[in-house]
Amino acid sequence: MASFGNAFSSSIGKKLIMGITGLFLISFLAVHCFINALIFVNDGGLTFNVGAHFMATNWLIRAMEVVLMAGLLAHIIQGLRLVFQNQAARPVKYAVNNGAANSKWYSRSMGLLGTILLIFLIVHLSDFWVVSRFTGIPTVDSAGHENLFAVMVARFQTLWVVILYILAMVSLAYHLLHGFASAFQTLGWNHKKYTPLIKAFGIWYSIIIAILFAAMPVAIYAGLIK
């Protein structure tokens, strides 16, 4: 009987998991960023709360939330395993290693950037996800929707929280700057016609997503969004 054998546990298989979950998380970021960007309508969070309400009640979104958490965990666990395995592949380090001569620092620092993002995620999920799913959003807005916007505004009155979010989004930008095109390469999608487009799109995507996300706590802290 034929089986998939070590299709997922081989070196290429492990990377396949990183690539697929990575692309899935990238697509999630686009949705997340779009919904959150509704705060820029600046109507006291009314539009945003409608979006948040839809995301919290639509059955398809709720089902995808489970897939998202599974994908996130797979990406984190596999990523950490790869970091340790790859370090073990060179037990004696070089006295002098000029990595800057041949590669970008962020492509060599995906583990570090990912760890910063993991720490951020723990704070971020307890800030908003735990509140909206478990402990409950305390107030409703004038349209009668749960006022997640108010939770957001309250959270971003503290300077260190805003700074943490900005640092995390800088890490996210660099993580994506390498990860976006890298995922396609891992899946074998390297093509003289498409790869330059993927790389260019990946750069724009990384920068725009990170700037949009970072602008949210900054705008709220600065009092531009009320």
Binding site: I12, L16, Q85, A101, S103, Q185
Partner: protein, 256 residues
């Protein structure tokens, strides 16, 4: 002393054998001609060491023409030194300045244990090749040249992959000590030619399995290997290997 000759400080990794603890040892060399190759500079050093009754530095070298893949020094943090597209034997002292300190280390990877000083055991590469880097046909007389038409782009691409000399610079420079550029070059060379087709999907699986068994790390697409490869082997080969491997695992019904 002719004008332009250099005085150098070398910091060279010395290690008695695989098990021994090694360390960097300082050597002063004077009157080195900028026209010498890097290996000739090592010959001068070894002559001096031998005449003093010291052990010469052990290092790999063979053709000294940049085509055999034997030389393997990690010079000032880069495999084959600071220049691009060449092996250590093609590196000349004119690439350095008078008074420079040059750090020379062996390739560092779990799969490439140090044999002595700067020589490492690269037989892991041989075992990867033995696992599938061949075609199982009886060779006879050469066929007529046009019996098997091959598109030019494909022939060129296969040839570019075949340029790999198996020196191991890709493993040496990769932050993960991954051998994917080497293995993908060997896979790609055969996967793009008609003679390589019958075993194409079996080959990629057996070679990757052997690569993993040797303890090389996993590719994270930093591109360092491509930048440092003396033969300019492209990352496209790694994508092709991934593509063939995933097709083999998920589409082929053959169990490997």
């Amino acid at each position: 002393m002719s004008t332009g000759n250099m005085n150098l400080t070398l910091k060279i990794w010395r290690q008695k054998n695989t098990k021994a603890k090694g360390g960097l040892v300082d050597y002063k060399l004077s009157d080195i001609s900028p026209d010498m190759s890097f290996l000739e500079m090592f010959d001068v050093l070894n002559e001096e060491l031998i005449s003093k009754g010291d052990e010469p530095v052990v290092f790999d070298h063979d053709c000294r023409e940049g085509i055999c893949g034997a030389c393997s020094m990690f010079i000032n943090g880069r495999p084959h030194g600071p220049k691009e597209g060449i092996t250590t034997c093609q590196l000349h002292m004119r690439s350095f300045k008078d008074g420079d300190t040059i750090v020379v280390e062996p390739w560092r990877a779990k799969a490439f244990p140090v044999v002595k000083d700067l020589t490492v055991d690269r037989s892991a590469f041989d075992r990867v090749i033995a696992a599938g880097g061949f075609i199982s046909v009886n060779t006879g007389n050469a066929q007529d040249a046009n019996n098997l038409p091959i598109p030019k782009v494909q022939a060129d691409s296969a040839f570019e992959a075949a340029a790999c000399i198996g020196c191991g610079a890709c493993v040496a420079t990769c932050k993960n000590a991954s051998a994917m550029l080497f293995v993908s070059a060997k896979v790609s060379q055969l996967a793009q030619l008609p003679q390589g087709q019958p075993e194409r999907y079996r080959r990629v699986q057996t070679m990757v399995a052997q690569m993993d068994a040797e303890g090389f790390g996993n590719c994270t697409n930093t591109g360092a290997c491509e930048a440092e490869c003396p033969k300019g082997i492209s990352l496209e080969n790694i994508a092709r290997m991934n593509r063939d491997y995933l097709s083999a695992k998920f589409v082929s019904e053959e169990d490997i």
